[in-house]
């Protein structure tokens, strides 16, 4: 049995039996910052006169939110992030390398039992490989860069026990958003979320990361996946969900807690599709989109953008023919990174448009235009919508997935 979250906290804090609610100080193994926060970190270093970091080899700066900067202000901020990395000798991941969380996974930065913090809420993705990984604001990140330490309030554990076996096109995101819709954030807020059950134990690395990524959407502080029966949390509040026979989940605007079954959303006209973001831009996500779009054309009047999560995913998708299929179908494939997720690089949705995207959030204005409605779904559903110009029925989805 691997370390529990409490084991990691005990080891990294020196407190032998940490209990929920205690405030403890812990050592940090890795720290990373994305391009939207690095310039503010640089400003805070200068303002407070900090002139060194605890270990530059353990700190990364990632250019992922504004890879192709859409305006002069953001481009200048990206250059400040680059200069900040150079000034302190930090690890620098230039634009096109990919989204911080996914590159960190590829680079082995989320070592099992390590403490990893990032200036981005989706740092919880690192829970997939057994790291204690959580997002923090930039002051906390700057403090840890200087001291090599941070603090946390020891979280209570909340376990979600998953039973049943769904059809193969059901993805972890369909399950996570269903749990959110049923329970809201309240049971998870500030807690450590542990997913368990046979289906969870069988998830491969890509799907495990896809599930851990969404912990923050449930309000959790951090996340881990029980990989064996022995890993399951004990004596903790348990929520159960039976996923046998569930349909894909679609989230209505303006928040992921407004999630419903595909059948209840089918038929909604879609004007723009974005496949990407740290939730759903791994190779499998690109491949399923390509398999649906191969030999077809996206619907007239629909714009479809796909952004691979990392440069490695992009290169593999190119080798395996996915990119050719996507481009031939009329998809705009952009350099690896966060893509259109937060309106900090193209494309921004048109006013009055309805967007279907594989992102993890659909808050009003999320993609840079408060006058667009944003719906969320898995890559397969999004690609199917791009083909038919509306949210598909289950039958339409299955037909597009399997019939050629």
């Amino acid at each position: 049995m691997s370390d529990t979250i409490l084991d990691i906290i005990a080891r990294k804090s020196g407190v032998s039996r940490p209990s929920a609610g205690d405030i403890v100080e812990i050592g940090v193994d890795r720290i990373y910052i994305q391009d939207g926060n690095a310039p503010t970190a640089a400003r805070l270093f200068a303002e407070h006169g900090f002139d060194r970091v605890f270990d530059p080899s353990r700190i990364g700066i990632f250019i992922d939110h504004s890879v192709l900067a859409p305006d002069l202000l953001m481009r200048n901020r990206v250059k400040e992030a680059e200069k900040f990395a150079r000034q302190f000798g930090l690890q620098f991941f230039k634009g096109g390398t990919g989204i911080s969380h996914l590159v960190a996974l590829e680079e082995g930065w989320f070592g099992e039992g390590d403490v990893v913090i990032g200036a981005d809420s989706h740092t919880c993705t690192g829970g997939a490989t057994g790291a204690l990984a959580f997002g923090l604001g930039v002051s906390d990140i700057v403090a840890a860069m200087v001291t090599g330490r941070t603090w946390l309030r020891v979280p209570e554990i909340v376990e979600v026990f998953v039973t049943g076996h769904p059809v193969d096109y059901i993805r972890p995101r369909d399950v996570a958003f269903r749990v959110l819709a049923a329970h809201g954030q309240t049971p998870f807020l500030g807690r450590a979320l542990v997913w368990s059950g046979e289906w969870i134990e069988r998830l491969d690395a890509e799907d495990a990361a896809g599930l851990a990524n969404l912990a923050v959407e449930l309000g959790a502080f951090c996340c881990r996946l029980a990989r064996t029966e022995g890993d399951r949390a004990r004596n903790t509040p348990r929520i159960t969900i039976d996923i046998g026979g569930i349909e894909p989940t679609v989230s209505r605007p303006p928040s992921p807690d407004q999630s419903i079954s595909l059948s209840d959303a089918a038929g909604v006209p879609i004007h723009e599709v974005f496949i990407g973001s740290c939730a759903s831009s791994r190779f499998r996500d690109v491949a399923v989109a390509a398999s649906i779009l191969a030999g077809r054309q996206i619907a007239s009047g629909v714009q479809c953008v796909l952004t691979p999560g990392t440069g490695r995913v992009y290169a593999r998708a190119m080798r395996e023919g996915c990119i050719e299929a996507l481009v031939s179908a009329g998809v705009l494939v952009t350099p690896a990174g966060c893509g259109s997720c937060v309106g900090t690089q193209g494309s921004v949705p048109a006013s009055g448009s309805t967007v279907l995207t594989t992102m993890n959030r659909n808050f009003k204005g999320r993609m840079g235009n408060p006058d667009a409605d944003i719906w969320l779904a898995s890559p397969a559903v999004a690609a199917a919508a791009a083909v038919i110009g509306r949210i598909p029925t289950v039958a339409e989805l299955v037909s597009l997935l399997h019939a050629k």
């Binding site: 391009d35 407070h48 900090f50 202000l73 953001m74 604001g137 200087v146 500030g190 808050f363 204005g365």
Partner: protein, 165 residues
């Protein structure tokens, strides 16, 4: 930084609030100066709201406040717009830390009986909010956070402690 705040003006906020609602990402990526952020507070959520904020306002929310993104700029934007504190039944985990780290109290309180525009007083040490219709207790902030507030924020407290030397 004081332990009590007088003459605070209540501004009610309804529903779950995300950090995207408080400050759009695009603005965060364009600027580093909180004064720039302040102009865009709640610009997608409630257009025009930023212009009505003044120094000494407090936001009183009726649901979870500050879910989603880790952007601390949502806090510094509110501070620069004059917001002295945020009160809510619960907070997004990261937002809660960011608020105290930036020397803005985030107070966990169950739906106080407060009206838009009324004047209140907050006593952090005794964890009490006093308005026109009496006093309401709230969850006492941990001493660690009160110390951070007293120092003027997390980084100021680190500078002062010599931990950066």
């Amino acid at each position: 930084m004081p332990n009590s705040f007088d003459e605070l003006r209540v501004r009610r906020i309804q529903g779950i609030v995300s950090t995207d609602d408080i400050l759009p990402a695009r603005i965060k990526h364009q600027h580093v100066d909180p004064k720039e952020f302040a102009k865009h507070v709640f610009s997608a959520h409630t257009p025009g709201f930023a212009g009505t904020l003044r120094s000494g306002d407090i936001l009183v929310a009726d649901s979870i406040f500050g879910i989603g993104s880790s952007r601390e700029q949502a806090v510094t934007a509110l501070l620069a717009a004059g917001v002295a504190a945020v009160l809510a039944p619960a907070f997004g985990t990261i937002f809660f830390r960011n608020a105290w780290n930036s020397a803005m109290p985030a107070i966990e309180i169950d739906l106080p009986d407060l009206r838009e525009g009324e004047t209140v007083r907050i006593d952090l040490v005794h964890a009490r909010l006093t308005g026109a219709r009496g006093a309401t207790a709230f969850r006492a902030p941990p001493p660690l956070l009160l110390n951070v507030l007293k120092a003027g924020g997390l980084l100021a407290s680190i500078s002062a402690s010599g931990a950066a030397e």
